[in-house]
């Protein structure tokens, strides 16, 4: 166990393992996502209340899940950076922050598209929407602070502190629909309860959620590999790698 943990600290080792894992992430992610989307958009039954407009759920809910999960993962990595000073954890935070920002934007955008037919408006200052918007700002802040500090070590730790401070927003998002009486509907899926939807609806939803997570894993590996190459550009193994490619 500990040996594995120490190996994770080596960028070179991670570069190799990520390269081997990526095809699996990509293929399984694409397959699950495609199944979920085609099933959900084409074959799942229409909702008795919202008709066909509910179908955006198969895109909206996965992005909304991942937008928060990515931040939580970043917070865990930030803690690792501060406690164990592990370089790879910081590489993860840097690589994932822009992805998280894009996913959060997608969640907000698909939510707006869904809001138009169901609520009759693109945007409303509802608690969950506002807290998701804050999440987007937090991602922007993390990216901006990371770019502003030149020194690699202190930039890593400063970003880690900021990520950990911002994590207070996650429970606010999570419980916003329960604490405040707002337009947004309560959680679609819960781990602890039986879904209120028929299986023809929730199975494709779960598939597309899993698919998006796997694709996120692929993208994170890809971006981490790039970041590692850049950071280790002076090391011997990277130079050997680049020369063998040419």
């Amino acid at each position: 166990m500990w040996q594995w943990f120490h190996k994770l600290g080596s960028p070179k080792w991670f570069y190799g393992i990520a390269g081997r894992l990526m095809p699996w992430f990509l293929v399984s992610g694409l397959a699950l996502m495609a199944t979920g989307i085609v099933w959900g958009l084409g074959f799942a039954p229409a909702d008795y209340l919202q008709g066909n407009s509910y179908r955006i759920i198969f895109i909206h809910v996965p992005t909304a899940f991942l937008a928060q999960a990515a931040y939580v993962m970043m917070a865990v990595a930030a803690l690792v950076t501060l406690v164990w000073r592990m370089k790879l954890a910081d590489v993860f935070v840097r690589a994932v922050a822009p992805v998280g920002a894009v996913i959060t934007f997608l969640a907000l955008f698909t939510g707006a598209v869904w809001g138009k037919p169901t609520w009759g408006t693109w945007w409303i200052w509802d608690a969950r929407l506002t807290s998701m918007l804050i999440l987007l700002f937090l991602y922007f802040g993390v990216i901006a602070l990371g770019n502003a500090i030149a020194d690699e070590k202190s930039s890593a730790r400063a970003v880690a502190v900021l990520v950990l401070v911002g994590v207070v927003n996650i429970p606010i998002i999570k419980y916003s629909v329960e604490w405040w009486n707002t337009l947004h509907q309560p959680a679609t899926l819960k781990l602890t309860e039986k879904p209120s939807m028929p299986p023809e609806m929730w199975v494709p939803l779960v598939l597309s959620i899993l698919g998006l997570y796997l694709l996120f894993g692929w993208l994170a590996c890809y971006r981490m590999k790039t970041e590692i190459l850049f950071r280790e550009r002076r090391s011997r193994w990277v130079q050997a790698l680049v020369q063998s490619d040419v």
Binding site: F137, G141, A148, I149, S154, V161, L162, L164, N169
Partner: protein
Amino acid sequence: MQRLPRLAPSQAGVPVLPACLALIRRDLLASLRQRQDLFNPLLFFLMVVSLFPLGVSPERSFLQEAGGGILWVAALLATLLSLDHLFRHDFEEGVLEQMLLQPQPLYLLVLAKVFAHWLVTGLPLLLMAPLLGLMLQLDGNSIGVLCLTLLVGTPVLSFVGAIGAALTLGLRSAGILLSLLIIPLYIPVLIFGTGAVMAARDGMPVTPHLALLGAMLVLALTCAPFATAAALRISVSNG
């Protein structure tokens, strides 16, 4: 710059409380001698508030509707402006490094420093708010609630802002970056601060909003100095 009284003596074993009190006294004296730092946020507060009746509408009904929010947004921005030099003078003159080397826990020293900052910026804003509330046609009850929310809310702004000030210390475009990092964290305070004023105007109970603001204050008081202390260590080792 004029000479300032020395920071707490640096021998080990100085009790924590006198050290913190000395730090607060020193910071208050420093801002009394740098009057600009003291008055600029207040002037800014006054000017931002006066933009709204001129820019949006001087109608009594609009001002009563939006007054609480206007005052809160202006107070938030004024605090944000004042944060940039919370640690900057000390950082540039090497006082901050001395502070990190003190035997007393950095947590408490940060607490003292942020408290001094609140006394110099938050408290004057709070004292000026009733006057501006009258100018915005708020009724007496709303003004009372507004002051109460500012009393609980502005310390949260100072504590959370200190984290951002410590993180951006020594960076070139610190001011704008500080706003980017901190505004998202200020939004909940703003929501409940204005929520209480709205509730007061509509004759609804204000205690839930105030209780949540109080909870935020407790959270900020207990957690924010830790983050600030960590950020200060990072920034000083960087500079």
